[in-house]
């Protein structure tokens, strides 16, 4: 499309301003993270004096060593990994299984409308914090990993994304398979699923990130703090005064470290997994979002 542009001198001036604005926009997104990363790698005394900007002062990895030595941190990490693995697999199975019938036309699956309403109503209204908590409590999920996995396993938005993708697959494929004697299960798992890998990858990546990032359900449904997933553990650390809850020996180490560098290290470690899947996410999510917004 480049060759169609009409360039004038005013456009060149605009371009300069445009780059300045966009660089500023990018800077406000990334520089706070760089700043906190630098603090986590600085010596405590330089960190609290407010002189660390975008590069560590008196480089040290002590804060990271301190965080990684803590057994609570690793317990929380394991809970998080568990919930990501269990949560994503269960949620993906349910998404695929629900999207297939709902992607069928009304003529083929006559009760579709009824089912659609059952799903749709949950997008409009919810029982709220307390009733949901009580149901989770009475179904015996409190303090189990399932409390983090089951109640949110049906994600209607993901089902909609998935079914819109299914609808775009050529109908002939299904008809041909049917005439060759395939049932719905075979059509779904032998034809639809292999053809929908990009959509499945997109939704799975989003689900992984959501599970990794979730913290409120951990706080609500886990009474014992050793059951906290990493984000909940981190949340509980960031909102309390860290030095009150440590043994005398630990307090000695903290005195040398300053909670500021420790907090920064914790924040950064919790972000690492997201930063790792981010390149894959970015590759997929544009197509994923567009496919969700356009009707098949």
């Amino acid at each position: 499309m480049k060759k169609y542009y009409i360039y004038g001198s005013s456009y060149r001036i605009f371009t300069v301003f445009n780059y300045i604005i966009l660089f500023l926009a990018a800077a406000v997104c990334i520089l706070p993270l760089v700043n906190v990363f630098s603090i986590s790698l600085s010596s405590p005394s330089r960190a609290v004096s407010g002189e660390v900007w975008l590069w560590p002062k008196d480089f040290t990895t002590e804060a990271y060593k301190w965080v990684l030595r803590s057994s609570d941190f690793w317990k929380a990490m394991i809970v998080s990994v568990k919930r990501v693995v269990l949560g994503t697999s269960i949620s993906m199975i349910i998404t695929i299984l629900c999207a297939y019938p709902l992607s069928k036309k009304k003529e083929i699956f006559r009760v579709r409308t009824l089912y659609v309403w059952i799903f749709f109503i949950t997008m409009l209204f919810s029982g709220g914090l307390v009733p949901t908590f009580l149901i989770v409590y009475y179904t015996g999920l409190i303090d189990t990993i399932w409390a983090l996995v089951i109640p949110g396993a049906v994600n209607t938005w993901n089902i909609i994304l998935m079914l819109n993708f299914f609808r775009r697959l050529p109908e002939e494929l299904e008809e041909a398979a049917f005439l060759d004697g395939a049932g719905h299960w075979q059509i779904l798992f032998r034809i639809f699923v292999p053809l929908s890998k990009p959509a499945i990858a997109t939704i799975a990546l989003f689900t992984i990130v959501n599970h990794w990032n979730a913290w409120f359900d951990g706080m609500l449904y886990m009474r014992k703090s050793f059951n906290y997933p990493l984000q909940t553990y981190l949340q509980s650390l960031l909102t309390i005064d860290i030095s009150r809850y440590l043994t005398a020996e630990q307090q000695n180490i903290v005195a040398k470290l300053s909670p500021k560098t420790i907090r920064s290290a914790q924040v950064f470690i919790a972000a690492v997994p997201v930063l790792c899947v981010y390149p894959f996410l970015q590759k997929y999510f544009t197509s994923g979002l567009v496919l969700g917004s356009v009707k098949g």
């Binding site: 709220g128 307390v130 089902i159 005439l179 949340q235």
Partner: protein, 316 residues
């Protein structure tokens, strides 16, 4: 030249609706999802009865139907409670601020991004501005607390540039709601551009050619081709944001607020949490939550109806 599949399909078509695959397996596929919805979405909807009771948790599960019924007294208490009025005002202010700022910034940025012709530069800017969306509010709050701390980089910067006295930003009740609006937009604006950039990509290139033949400058092309091309998505996102009028962002505010800023920063969701989970008034907390979910339901329904009327948008 018909392939076998085509012949078979033709045969199927001619037979019309006489051949229909059994739908039993379709019902079966929906079953696991429906069971979970029934238990964890529909049962809690029934659980709102406790908003009309003196919920007695000691009765165990029977409390749902054996507690004493008190009609609308929790709601009367709600409307006479200054905490609730305050939370409602704050919620409306913060949520509307986020809707307005979060509406314009992504549109402007995507129009500006569209003018970047160096491909790798455009991609790098995109990569950078999308990133905060994928970080949890716990992490973002951790970052913001450091950045806005007394010994944080914002205060150092203010001191160097304006000789300003250090300020405890997150503890300042005048600034707090504005900070929530700005930092939320900061986290989400990049991701908000995705949908607009996709809309711009979808614009028919011949429209630009025609505009150029008519002598339109780049600016005129933006006004007369790009923006009209984005219009359906712009209208849609405007209409759908209506459903968020009572969503001021629990995760953000819960992780950043403190007692000194309750006056301007306490929202309905944080109030519900404190009433129910910290002071254990399950019934009253449910009533406050129900007020919000009821109004939200009306707003969301209205927004979907408008989206359907104005933009032909159907969710399913």
């Amino acid at each position: 030249m018909l392939k076998t599949a085509d012949v078979k399909t033709e045969a199927l078509r001619r037979k019309g609706n006489n051949i229909r695959m059994s739908t039993r397996s379709l019902h079966l596929m929906l079953l696991p999802g429906l069971i979970i919805l029934l238990i964890y979405n529909y049962l809690p909807m029934g659980g709102i009865v406790i908003a009309f009771q003196n919920y007695n948790i000691g009765l165990g599960i029977k409390a749902f139907w054996q507690s004493e019924w008190v009609g609308f007294s929790h709601f009367q208490r709600l409307f006479s409670s200054p905490d609730f009025t305050r939370a409602l005002t704050n919620t409306l202010f913060i949520a509307c601020g986020k809707i307005v700022l979060g509406f314009f910034v992504p549109i402007i940025i995507s129009l500006l991004l569209n003018e970047v012709q160096v491909k790798w530069l455009k991609r790098s800017i995109q990569t950078t501005i999308y990133l905060p969306h994928f970080l949890s509010w716990v992490i973002m709050a951790g970052v913001l607390r450091e950045v806005f701390a007394m010994d944080g980089v914002v205060n150092s910067l203010g001191h160097i540039l304006f000789r300003a006295e250090p300020n405890f930003w997150l503890g300042d009740k005048k600034l707090f709601p504005w900070l929530m609006i700005v930092t939320d937009t900061l986290k989400e604006f990049g991701f908000g551009t995705v949908i607009y950039l996709a809309a711009i990509t979808g614009i028919d290139p011949t429209l630009y050619e025609a505009a150029i033949v008519d002598g339109a400058s780049r600016f005129k092309q933006t006004i007369h081709v790009t923006i009209p091309g984005m219009m359906p998505i712009i209208v849609l996102s405007m209409v759908l944001s209506l459903g968020n009028v009572l969503n001021a962002g629990f995760e953000q505010i819960f992780n950043l607020y403190s007692v000194p800023v309750y006056e301007t920063g306490d929202i309905i969701d944080t109030l519900v949490y404190r009433i129910s989970m910290q002071s254990g008034q399950y019934d009253f907390g449910t009533a406050v939550g129900l007020f919000k979910s009821f109004i939200s339901m009306l707003l969301i329904s209205l927004s979907y109806w408008l989206a359907y009327k104005l933009a032909d948008y159907e969710i399913f």
